[in-house]
């Protein structure tokens, strides 16, 4: 599903990469990236999501971001750990914008179960951090993704919302959608049982052996 080849991520003028993955192939599934603070989890997710440049190649189902960026981005969705949106826009306007670009399906159940439809007409300047997080999660499920990247998805969510999200992840997983998640908070046992751990240490990504 996801192939990473000769990947290197450097920041600024530094010649030393913060992350270096020579060759990594990940099959369909739910993956939980583990690693201490500063090991490069967010950098890796942002690179896969196309948000920041990198050296090397990343491909999803054979579609390389460097060669066919538009098709690649139709397949990969991303929710940031601390989402930021223009304060003068409403959630609805952002949802409409995502829908117009990602096309495909819309997560109606997630929208209503997370309660986003109650506040989506308000400007994001009035949102709490939890409301922003819920909006970012809804946006990450728009379209027909084959891979959804969730960076610290449980931060700022209430207990009910955590359950809703985990149920949605399981449902999408059954529909052949893969997830790569970073989280310092634990998921429930049902979801943990179907996740594979990936360990990010010494600037590289390894499948964790238990």
């Amino acid at each position: 599903m996801l192939t990473i080849t000769n990947f290197q991520k450097k920041y600024g003028t530094s010649t030393e990469p913060v992350l270096s993955i020579h060759n990594c192939k990940i099959e369909k599934g739910i993956y939980w990236i583990k690693g201490a603070n500063g090991t490069g989890k967010t950098s890796l997710l942002k690179s896969i999501a196309g948000l920041i440049p990198f050296e090397g190649s990343i491909a999803v189902d054979g579609c390389d971001i460097n060669h066919n960026r538009m098709a690649y981005l139709q397949q990969v969705n991303y929710a940031e750990a601390e989402p930021q949106y223009p304060l003068f826009l409403s959630g609805k306007e952002l949802i409409d914008f995502y829908r117009s670009t990602k096309k495909g399906n819309f997560p109606d159940s997630l929208l209503s179960n997370l309660g986003v439809e109650k506040f989506m007409h308000q400007k994001t300047s009035t949102y709490s951090s939890g409301m922003l997080k819920k909006l970012s999660l809804v946006l990450a499920f728009i379209g027909n993704p084959t891979l959804i990247l969730l960076d610290e998805p449980l931060i700022a969510l209430d207990v009910a919302a955590v359950d809703v999200l985990q149920a949605e992840i399981r449902q999408y997983h059954q529909a052949d959608v893969s997830f790569i998640i970073t989280s310092h908070q634990l998921f429930n046992n049902e979801l943990i049982s179907c996740t594979t751990n990936l360990l990010l240490q010494e600037k590289s990504l390894q499948q964790e052996t238990i």
């Binding site: 948000l51 440049p53 960026r69 223009p86 409409d96 990602k102 007409h121």
Partner: protein, 369 residues
């Protein structure tokens, strides 16, 4: 009563004018800034006469006023529903007459720009014995104010039915909202967050153009105009910096969306072309044969292309202000000499080509320093 009125003036009227300063400035500029000072009164008299004599024109103006009134009402209802404005509901305990007095005052004050213009329309209509038209305009404006005050009264006193108001406002909102997508976000940012900078750039630009076209109109000097016009470009280069910075912070999520680089480029160009419309209109209206009109239009497109080139610079230098200013300065010098060649179409093509190459080369590899 005076205390309550004072509070409402601060939380409603003052806020309305602060939030809508950009919009109101644009409308004011459109109607008063683009016409030569000496012709301003005669221009507006002929505008009003056209309105009084043509039912179609009158209907268009009445519809525009209705839109403005809806905008005012939406502002009131949204601000009443805001979480930090729950104290406003205490107005509901005042006697109905006092409430109406306050609401009529608040609505009249936010509707004031239209009322002032209407006053002159009514005076002109009476002077020309068009009493029917005068009565129509007066009645219409009274109706507008009464409707606004009634909406305020209803929202505050029937707060249990707030969802009905929400439904109305949402329906009106979606009916009147133009979804411009990415470009809409860029306009929204400038008019919402950078409206003061935008207003200053526009005032500066018009001042520069006024010196060339109005003050020195009789002794128009193309070289001097070239320098003044380049200053207009430099002023707009600051807006380009704000836009790219906004795009790469609050709209950074856009890079995870399947939007091709040329579409992003087109959206930037579209935004700049709208921003520069007042300058284009000003030059065309006040030209009086100093420059061929085709040259003015070419100059307008050249400026759009140059601002697009500046966008590429910003992606190339990682939004580094120092490097950006240096590149803008180099561009200033380069265009100054290109203008002197007189090859306007070639200049436009060259800048557009360079801008496209720079933008394409750096857009995807951009990462903020």
């Amino acid at each position: 009563m005076k205390t309550i009125a004072g509070i409402l003036l601060k939380v409603w009227v003052k806020q309305f004018y602060i939030i809508n300063a950009g919009f109101l400035f644009f409308v004011f500029f459109f109607f008063f800034g683009m016409v030569n000072g000496g012709q301003l009164i005669s221009y507006h008299i002929s505008l009003i006469q056209a309105m009084l004599s043509s039912p179609v024109f009158m209907a268009v103006v009445l519809f525009a006023w209705l839109c403005y009134n809806i905008k005012c009402i939406l502002f009131f209802t949204t601000s009443i529903k805001a979480q930090d404005s729950s104290y406003i509901y205490t107005l509901g305990i005042l006697p109905a007459a006092k409430q109406w007095e306050l609401y009529l005052l608040a609505v009249s004050l936010v509707y004031m720009p239209v009322l002032i213009y209407s006053f002159f329309i009514i005076c002109l209509a009476i002077q020309q014995s068009m009493f029917g038209n005068a009565a129509l305009v007066a009645t219409y404006q009274l109706l507008m104010i009464a409707t606004g005050a009634w909406m305020l009264h209803y929202t505050i006193n029937k707060n249990t039915s707030i969802t009905t108001i929400e439904k109305i406002t949402t329906a009106v909102n979606s009916a009147f909202k133009i979804n411009l997508g990415y470009s809409g976000f860029l306009f929204g940012y400038i008019l919402d967050t950078r409206k003061i900078a935008f207003a200053m750039v526009k005032v500066f630009s018009i001042l520069m153009l006024s010196i060339s076209f109005v003050i020195n109109g009789d002794h128009f000097d193309e070289d001097l105009f070239g320098i003044f016009y380049l200053l207009v470009f430099v002023a707009h280069a600051t807006l380009v910096f704000y836009l790219v910075e906004f795009s790469e912070t609050k709209l950074a999520f856009n890079r995870n969306l399947p939007i091709a680089w040329y579409k992003v480029a087109a959206m930037y160009c579209f935004t700049y072309s709208i921003f520069l419309l007042p300058e284009l209109a000003f030059m065309l209206v006040n030209n009086h044969g100093n420059l061929p009109e085709a040259s003015i239009v070419l100059l307008y497109f050249t400026t759009v292309a140059t601002l697009f080139l500046c966008t590429g610079y910003l992606y190339g230098c990682g939004l580094n202000m120092e490097s950006y200013l240096f590149l803008v300065f180099i561009t200033f010098i380069m265009i100054f000499f290109l203008q002197k060649t007189g090859l306007r179409l070639l200049t436009l093509s060259g800048i557009l080509l360079a801008a496209t190459v720079v933008f394409k080369s750096y857009y995807h590899s951009f990462e903020r320093e």
